[in-house]
């Protein structure tokens, strides 16, 4: 997937944010940087502005419960200039998972973040319109959390006029 010649991009990121980048790995060639939650917006802005990562290909979350911290935000960036993919991960609080929104940088983050909110209950600070997207208003719980039962039944919602 990744062109090894462009691995210097990950090194540049590490040099720029020595304290914020907590770990890196390249399992099966997917280069990954684990960063501090609070630095997400700054790192993403650096990726877009200085390193030429123009695409936010995907943004999602993983529930690692019962591991602590429970939630992990996963972003996949792609640079069409360098033909290089980078995964950025950050751990979020278990009780009140929240992260900075990437919508100011990528308009496409809007729906990805709405889905992560809908499915995992992760709040994105600065998101213009954070509401459910696949589920409806009045849905209880967040279905992709590991503690959401597979066969949970939902209460009936009143008919909308």
């Amino acid at each position: 997937m990744t062109t090894a010649a462009n691995s210097y991009l990950l090194e540049t990121l590490k040099d720029k944010f020595p304290a914020e980048v907590l770990a890196t790995h390249a399992f099966r060639g997917d280069e990954t940087a684990v960063i501090q939650k609070d630095s997400l917006a700054a790192v993403a802005a650096f990726l877009k502005g200085d390193l030429g990562f123009d695409f936010l290909m995907d943004l999602t979350a993983v529930d690692h419960s019962p591991r602590e911290p429970r939630f992990e935000l996963v972003c996949h960036f792609y640079s069409s200039k360098h033909n290089y993919r980078l995964r950025l991960k950050c751990a979020l609080d278990s009780e009140n998972p929240a992260a900075a929104s990437l919508t100011p940088l990528w308009a496409g983050a809007n729906w990805f973040e709405r889905e992560a909110y809908d499915m995992f209950g992760i709040k994105f600070e600065g998101h213009p319109d954070l509401r459910r997207i696949l589920m409806y208003d009045g849905f209880e719980g967040h279905p992709l959390r590991k503690d959401y039962p597979l066969k949970k039944r939902q209460p009936r919602i009143p008919h909308r006029d």
């Binding site: 399992f27 099966r28 290909m57 993983v62």
Partner: protein, 406 residues
């Protein structure tokens, strides 16, 4: 462009007129041109769309949640139902992701067959998109020409996979079955049918004044906006960005074939139409090259911890019997880790992100659906245009409910 106001979308979504002559209009979720089910809440002034809100979620089936509770190979039939117009691409993308997670590669013949099937799927995807689009704009004849071609392709893939729209053809490390002996012959015949039908459609549409006027300049999006919205596939290429996963990061054996990536320049519906028409031709070239180069050999990975052993072995020795049992009940067991695998789907990049905890079931399986971002960008594409242009723009977005909402 006007900024949306607080009361733009009142709770009561019936047709109503706002104080300054704007009107809130509800399009869908059940509307002839909203194929799939999606609701557009439009704010219009006269015939012009001032703003819109796209509401999805009518076809959410919990694909990702389901897959966390079944084994890796049991997920394959569910991937058919993501983009049900090009099921093979989903099958292949998923299988590649699991294989990448396990660090294995399928045999050469399997890779060629996967390419052939992916490209046949791309044909059905584009044919459906253009056919339905033309039908909605009044060109009913074209719809029959192209659906006729699609049906021929379905019969061909059906003969190999045993399923018309839900083939579930791939398995981790291989395929369910090899191509039938007369596949090459039939493929040549089917491609002749497709070429003829596409040529007819081309004559009816490309220089058609009405069709041209409905598509040219509508649903336009700039290169910068398309990139910011994470567009991929024909919608991105219509703006002039030559990004295609098959060329950028070749998977399977795509680097063995000679084909072009068509790009547009205006980023409007007409360019998206032209890009799709050209991709149909390029896909047929790939299929012909792949069939000509198709090597003989096994189609499944030789390791019994990955692929089911042949039946003679299962009945003949204890190791194969045990492998069969373990694979069926526990599933393949990739090591702990995570991978992201992208393939080029009909609408753009289809990505599978899998997190494994070392058991036979994925801990997390995420699909990056290409038309999710396209539908997110629909508001931007229809803003300022006529209500009637939504039909052509929505048709070229080619929203597929199954993959949009999983």
């Amino acid at each position: 462009m006007e900024k949306p106001k607080e009361n733009l979308f009142p709770k009561n979504w019936n047709l109503e007129t706002l104080e300054d002559g704007r009107m809130v209009l509800n399009m869908g979720p059940s509307h002839p041109s909203m194929h799939g089910i999606v609701r557009l809440l439009l704010t219009v002034r006269g015939e012009r769309v001032i703003d819109s809100d796209v509401e999805i979620g009518y076809l959410h089936r919990g694909f990702e949640k389901t897959c966390e509770n079944i084994t890796y190979n049991q997920c394959v039939p569910y991937t058919d139902r993501l983009n049900y117009v090009s099921p093979f691409i989903n099958n292949v993308g998923y299988a590649l992701a699991v294989e990448k997670l396990m660090g294995i590669e399928s045999p050469a013949r399997c890779q060629y067959i996967r390419v052939i099937m992916s490209e046949l799927s791309r044909l059905t995807d584009h044919l459906t998109c253009i056919g339905a689009n033309a039908m909605e704009l009044g060109g009913f004849t074209v719809y029959f020409y192209l659906i006729n071609a699609r049906e021929a392709l379905y019969r061909l893939t059906d003969s190999a996979a045993g399923g018309r729209v839900t083939p579930a053809y791939t398995r981790v490390g291989g395929l369910t079955r090899d191509l039938p002996p007369d596949f090459k012959l039939n493929a040549a015949e089917v491609l002749r049918t497709v070429r003829k039908n596409v040529a007819d459609a081309d004559k009816l549409l490309t220089r058609n004044r009405i069709f041209y006027d409905r598509l040219r300049g509508t649903g336009q999006i700039s290169k910068e906006d398309a990139i910011a919205l994470s567009f991929t596939g024909p919608a991105l290429r219509s703006t002039g960005v030559p990004l295609d996963v098959r060329k950028a990061t070749p998977y399977l054996v795509y680097d063995h074939f000679d084909f072009d990536i068509p790009v547009g320049s205006n980023g409007d519906n007409y360019d998206r139409y032209l890009v799709r028409m050209e991709e149909i031709k390029q896909s047929m070239l790939i299929v012909e090259q792949a069939l000509a180069q198709l090597p003989e050999g096994p189609i499944n990975h030789p390791d019994f911890n990955v692929s089911l052993p042949p039946k003679e072995e299962v009945y003949g020795n204890i190791e194969a019997l045990m492998a069969h049992f373990k694979l069926t009940f526990e599933g393949v067991k990739p090591p702990k880790g995570e991978v992201y695998q992208a393939v080029e789907g009909g609408n753009g990049e289809v990505g599978f992100y899998i997190v494994s905890d070392g058991t036979g079931k994925p801990w997390r399986l995420r699909v990056r659906p290409p038309c999710f971002v396209l539908t997110a960008g629909l508001s931007k594409m229809i803003r300022g245009g006529y209500i009637a242009d939504i039909v052509s723009t929505f048709g070229q977005v080619n929203m597929i409910g199954g993959e949009l909402e999983r």
